[in-house]
C-alpha cells in the first residue's frame, strides 16, 4: 500500500470516528441519578438491537442505573418467545449488568405484562418509585379511569421529591402526523401535574422524537423511536423545541441536585439533542405559562 493511500485511510478513519465516538454531553456528577429512556421499542427487529447496542456503548461512559420504558414494550403478541426476542435478547447485556427496567404500558402491550418481573411493575398498571431526589410515576394512559386519576393526585401530593417525573404512553402534546396530542388526557392530567409540581413528562406512541417548549411550566419529551420509526412524520410547530424523525434513538438523563441534564442519541450514536433544565427555570416557565393546543 502506498504511503499516501495509507495516510488517507488513516485520516478517513480518524474522521469517521467522531460519529461513533459516543460523545457524552452529560456531566457525570457525583451522586447524580442516572437513567436511560426508551419508547416503542419492542419490535424484535434489527434496529431495536442496534439501539440497544448503542445503549450498552454509552453505558460504558455513562453508567445509568435504570431504564424507563414509555410503552409498546412488546409488539405483536406476548408469547414467551416475544418476551425473549423483543426484550430479553436485545437488552441482555444491560440486564446482565444489573440495569433495571421500569415499564409503562402502551397500546400494543398486553395488560398482564404488569406481572413480568423484569418490568418492575409489581403487578400494577401504574406505580411509583424514588431515586435520590427524584420521584418517578409510571402511568397507564390506555385507561385513565377515575381511580387512577385519584391515585395520581394522592401520590403527587404526598411526594416531597424535588423532581417529579411522570411517564406514560400517549403524549399530551405532539406534532407528529400519525397521532397528535391527546387533548382529553391532557385536560385531565395537566392541571394535576401543574398543581403538584411535576417538572418532566415523558411519553412515546409517536415513532419520532420531539422536545417541546414548556407547556404550562412543564417540559414534555416524546420519544417513541427506540424500535419503531416513522420517517419524516414530525411536522414541527412553534411549540416544538427540537425534533428528530429520520432514525431511531434513545434518551439519557442525569439529575444532579437542581439540574436535569438530558441527551438524545440516535441508533448510530449521534447526539440529536442535549441540554439542561435548572429547577429555577420551571418556576419561570410556570409563571410565563403557555397554552398551546
Amino acid at each position: 500500500m502506498e504511503r499516501r493511500t495509507f495516510l488517507q485511510l488513516l485520516l478517513g478513519a480518524s474522521l469517521y470516528r467522531p460519529a461513533l465516538a459516543q460523545d457524552l454531553k452529560l456531566p457525570l456528577k457525583e451522586k447524580s441519578v442516572r437513567f436511560a429512556i426508551i419508547g416503542d421499542n419492542g419490535t424484535g427487529e434489527k434496529p431495536q438491537y442496534e439501539v440497544a447496542d448503542q445503549m450498552v456503548r454509552f453505558r460504558e461512559k455513562f453508567p445509568f442505573e435504570f431504564v424507563v420504558m414509555l410503552g409498546d414494550n412488546i409488539y405483536g403478541g406476548d408469547s414467551p418467545n416475544d418476551y425473549k426476542r423483543k426484550f430479553e435478547d436485545p437488552y441482555k447485556r444491560l440486564l446482565d449488568a444489573g440495569v433495571k427496567f421500569y415499564a409503562a404500558l402502551g397500546n400494543h402491550d398486553g395488560p398482564n405484562q404488569r406481572f413480568y418481573k423484569p418490568f418492575n411493575m409489581d403487578g400494577k398498571r401504574y406505580y411509583s418509585y424514588k431515586r435520590g431526589n427524584a420521584a418517578f410515576f409510571a402511568l397507564d394512559s390506555n385507561y385513565m379511569d377515575p381511580e387512577q386519576v385519584g391515585w395520581v393526585k394522592k401520590e403527587l401530593s404526598g411526594s416531597d421529591a424535588q423532581w417529579k417525573i411522570c411517564y406514560f404512553h400517549h403524549p399530551l402534546y405532539s406534532d407528529s402526523k400519525a397521532h397528535g396530542s391527546d387533548t382529553d388526557l391532557r385536560k385531565v392530567l395537566e392541571p394535576i401535574f401543574k398543581e403538584y409540581g411535576v417538572k418532566i413528562v415523558l411519553s412515546g406512541h409517536e415513532h419520532t422524537y420531539e422536545r417541546l417548549k414548556p407547556q404550562q411550566g412543564i417540559w414534555y419529551f416524546v420519544l417513541g423511536n427506540s424500535g419503531q420509526l416513522r420517517v419524516h412524520n414530525l411536522k414541527k410547530s412553534p411549540r416544538t423545541e427540537v425534533g428528530f424523525d429520520t432514525d431511531r434513538g434513545f434518551g439519557l438523563a442525569e439529575i444532579a441536585g437542581g439540574e436535569f441534564y438530558f441527551q438524545i442519541v440516535s441508533r448510530t450514536g449521534q447526539t440529536v439533542d442535549s441540554g439542561m433544565y435548572p429547577l429555577a427555570s420551571f418556576e419561570k416557565a410556570k409563571a410565563a405559562g403557555s397554552g398551546a393546543q
Binding site: 413480568y116 390506555n142 379511569d145 377515575p146
Partner: protein
Amino acid sequence: MTRLLALAAFALRVMAAQPDQAALNEFQSHLSAYVKLHEKAKSGLPTLKPTPSPESITEHERALAHRIREAREREHVLEGNIFTPKVAAEFKRLIAETMKGSEGVSIKQSLASGEPVQLGQIRVNQPYPKGVPVQNTPPTLLLNLPKLPQGYSYRVVNGSLLILYDSEANLVVDVLPNAIPQ
C-alpha cells in the same frame, strides 16, 4: 305561559341528565355475578404474582380463560349478558350525553389520536386477539360510566363498539354495539 314552558323544558333536561338507577343496579348485579364466577374459576389456580417467567403469565391467562369460558358456556351466556337491553339503553344514553358539546370533541380527538382498532367480529367469551393494539378509552368518557372493579375495563373497538374486558383472563365479557355515536 312562557315561564311555564321554560320550567317544563328545564325539568325535562334535569330528568334526561338523571341516570336510570334501575338500569345501573341491573348492570352492577350482572357484573358482580361475573366477578364472582371469575373469582371461583381462579380459586383453583396458583395465584399470579410477578414472575420472570412469561410462560407462567401466559399459562395463567390461558387456564383462567378456559375455566371461565367453560363455566359461562354451561350457563349458556350470550351477548347481552351484562349489557341487557335496559342496561344498553342507559349506557348509550350516558355516552351520548357525555359526547355532547366540547367533551365530545376532545373524546373523539382522543380516540383518533389513540390508535383506532378494527377487529371484525368480536364475540363474547373469546380472547381479545393477541397482537392487536388497544384503543385507549378517553378519561372523560370513563368519568361518566359506572366504575369497574380492578382488572376490568371498557374498551372501544371498530369505532363504535364498547366491550367489557377482563384483563387477567384476556376475555371479552360482553359487547355493546353502536355505543359510541359517530
